[in-house]
């Protein structure tokens, strides 16, 4: 047996994806913004320890006038900077947990649908379509309005309103993968259905799911902002959406009270999209040599 022909250079696939990801300048930018937002949200409220609900200065103080409130105050005199820092936490937490909810529901429905096919597929896909035709923001509004508007409930409501595309994507991947020979090969050595679904097929279906999970974080942040803007957010937790919502009537008197959180939401969603796009390029071999 010729041994040297068999020595092929081992390359860790995860490291390869990371390298390709970093080669993309927009992905780097997205990652930079996201890391910045996360760091500021984690450490900001500790360093600038001000309760975002407390009244700290005169109403409508513009930024840079009062050194006590460097980013100005809103219509009741609350500190905008404290709101930005505290609101970042809430927005990110809701975005992330809603994305987890969405992925979990979508993954389970899609996996069962794609793996078993037939009647199971038919029933689950009709349910998916039912949710798909409902306007998702309105569905989330109804769910939040029916129950207590806490952060957990908002995350769950977003999850219930936004899982359909993940389910369809997962179903498609499972439909494709279940016919492959290595899945059949595992079947021939006696693997059970659940093992085939979660251990054999799922890891191979992950790349497109990771991309969609990233993008769903952005969608979830927008949903949370939208709900808060409409006054359906958690009134006891400062979030960027809540800040915009409560200051929207004074937008001509105090532009800063809406512009800062608005920009923050824009940057958060943009960074998530850039990261998702970069991951897509890195994980999809067909796009690698662009």
């Amino acid at each position: 047996m010729n041994k040297q022909a068999e020595v092929i250079k081992a390359d860790n696939p995860a490291r390869e994806v990371w390298r390709l990801f970093l080669r993309n300048w927009s992905a780097r930018l997205g990652l930079f913004i996201m890391v910045l937002i996360i760091l500021v949200s984690i450490f900001g409220p500790g360093i600038y320890a001000v309760d975002p609900f407390s009244i700290r200065g005169a109403p409508f103080t513009p930024p840079g006038v009062d050194s006590n409130v460097p980013w100005g105050t809103d219509h009741v005199g609350r500190d905008i900077l404290a709101g930005m820092l505290g609101g970042g936490r809430a927005t990110l937490a809701v975005g992330l947990s809603a994305a987890v909810m969405t992925i979990t529901i979508g993954l389970v429905v899609g996996a069962f649908s794609g793996y078993y096919g037939g009647l199971v597929d038919e029933i689950l896909m009709r349910i998916t379509e039912f949710f798909q035709v409902l306007p998702s923001l309105i569905l989330a509004m109804v769910l939040v309005a029916l129950f207590t508007p806490s952060l957990e409930m908002i995350a769950i409501a977003i999850g219930i309103a936004a899982w359909q595309s993940t389910a369809r994507l997962t179903r498609g991947e499972f439909l494709r993968l279940r016919e492959l020979e290595y899945v059949k090969a595992s079947r021939t050595i006696g693997a059970s259905d659940s093992r085939l679904m979660w251990v054999i097929i799922l890891p191979n279906a992950l790349p497109p799911l990771i991309i969609s999970a990233t993008l769903i974080i952005g969608v979830a942040i927008l949903f949370e902002a939208g709900l808060s803007f409409l006054g359906l957010g958690d009134p006891n937790v400062m979030s960027w959406g809540l800040m915009i919502g409560s200051s929207k009537e004074y937008i001509f008197d105090s532009w800063w009270a809406t512009a800062f959180p608005g920009t923050a939401i824009f940057l958060a969603v943009l960074s998530v999209s850039l990261i998702g796009d970069g991951l897509n390029d890195a994980l999809n071999p067909k796009l690698r040599n662009r």
């Binding site: 041994k3 050595i189 693997a191």
Partner: protein, 334 residues
């Protein structure tokens, strides 16, 4: 007739197996009255054109006929006194991999790209035998050594994309052999490999059969592979077994016109300077659609020596010699 002494030692017996497929054009009978038996340690070759039911026979034995659209509608598959067609799915899972294993055509796609070689080999060991993870890894290393993969200690930590095609097929064989099955079904195991690697894989299979007293069902359309490996051969056409004989009989005195055609289609490599280059034979016509089979012999439209009754009556199987059976009206008088 199978005498009782022979019956007792039979490892696997397939009896009058019928499999239907629901297609848009109607019901296609992809396996029609397939019967054969397999003795311990024997290599049984199944040959035929694409779509003749070779692979479907294998899938039926494994209990993996895709359903829908396929359905086993009749017959028996007796393994070790147990009818596999009446097993519960749980029982069938225990048999798969542990008693009957299968290797596939495409070593490139038959390994899971995201799981390390070692974990793929230990999968069936952990499923069927109560081995600890460390013991299973040791066993996997041993198996890789047995199928002549160099540096097995290193290979078990690698991913499939880091191996060549021949190596992957060896890994496939190691996976199939992990639980020491008594039957190995090899579905065109070498079609995707170079000829030199093919020969190595065949040698390996024969060697393993010798060591483990394992029966092999070799499914192929490659007559060369049959000549090299098989002891007995089953020739299939349009879902039926049309001829069964020892490999020497099949190659030297094929009886069914289809088998004769098949043999004459094989190119001859050893050409001396005195032999003229002849054009290859071919069997005229195409394999009939399984949804539109008439009452007669499925090969009748392409047959050179057809009789009037061939178009009307399905030929029954005649014993033409010891251990030689042919389903053709030409052999009725014998």
């Amino acid at each position: 007739m199978i005498d009782s002494r022979q019956h007792e030692s039979t490892l696997l017996e397939v009896n009058n197996l019928n499999v239907d497929f629901n297609t848009r054009e109607g019901i296609a009978r992809v396996l029609n009255g397939v019967s054969f038996s397999l003795q311990p340690g024997e290599v049984l070759g199944i040959v035929g054109e694409s779509g003749c039911g070779k692979s479907m026979t294998a899938l039926s034995i494994m209990g993996l006929v895709p359903n829908p659209p396929g359905k086993v509608v009749g017959g028996k598959i007796i393994y070790d006194g147990e009818n596999l067609l009446e097993c519960t799915p749980e029982r069938m899972r225990k048999i798969r991999g542990n008693h009957i294993s299968m290797i596939f055509q495409e070593p490139m796609t038959a390994l899971n790209p995201v799981i390390r070689i070692g974990d793929q080999i230990t999968e069936s060991l952990l499923l069927h035998q109560k081995l600890s993870h460390d013991d299973a890894i040791d066993k996997a290393t041993e198996l890789l050594r047995e199928v002549h993969v160099p540096l097995p200690e290193k290979r078990i930590h690698e991913f499939p994309h880091q191996l060549s095609g021949g190596m992957r097929q060896r890994v496939m064989i190691a996976i199939a052999l992990a639980c020491e099955p008594s039957i190995l079904i090899a579905d065109e195991p070498t079609t995707a490999l170079d000829v030199t690697v093919q020969a190595q894989v065949f040698d390996l299979l024969l060697e393993l059969r010798q060591e483990r007293k394992m029966a092999i069902i070799l499914i192929t359309h490659d007559m060369g592979a049959i000549a090299e490996m098989a002891g007995r051969v089953l020739v299939m056409y349009a879902g039926r077994v049309i001829e069964t004989a020892t490999v020497d009989d099949i190659l030297q005195k094929p009886e069914h016109p289809y088998t004769q055609g098949l043999i004459s289609c094989v190119p001859i490599l050893h050409m001396g300077s005195d032999t003229e280059r002849k054009s290859l034979n071919e069997i005229p016509g195409i394999v009939p659609s399984l949804t539109s089979l008439g009452h007669g012999c499925a090969f009748e439209p392409r047959c050179q020596s057809r009789l009037p009754r061939c178009a009307i009556d399905m030929p029954i199987t005649f014993d033409t010699d010891t251990d030689h059976k042919t389903a053709c009206w030409l052999f009725e008088q014998r």
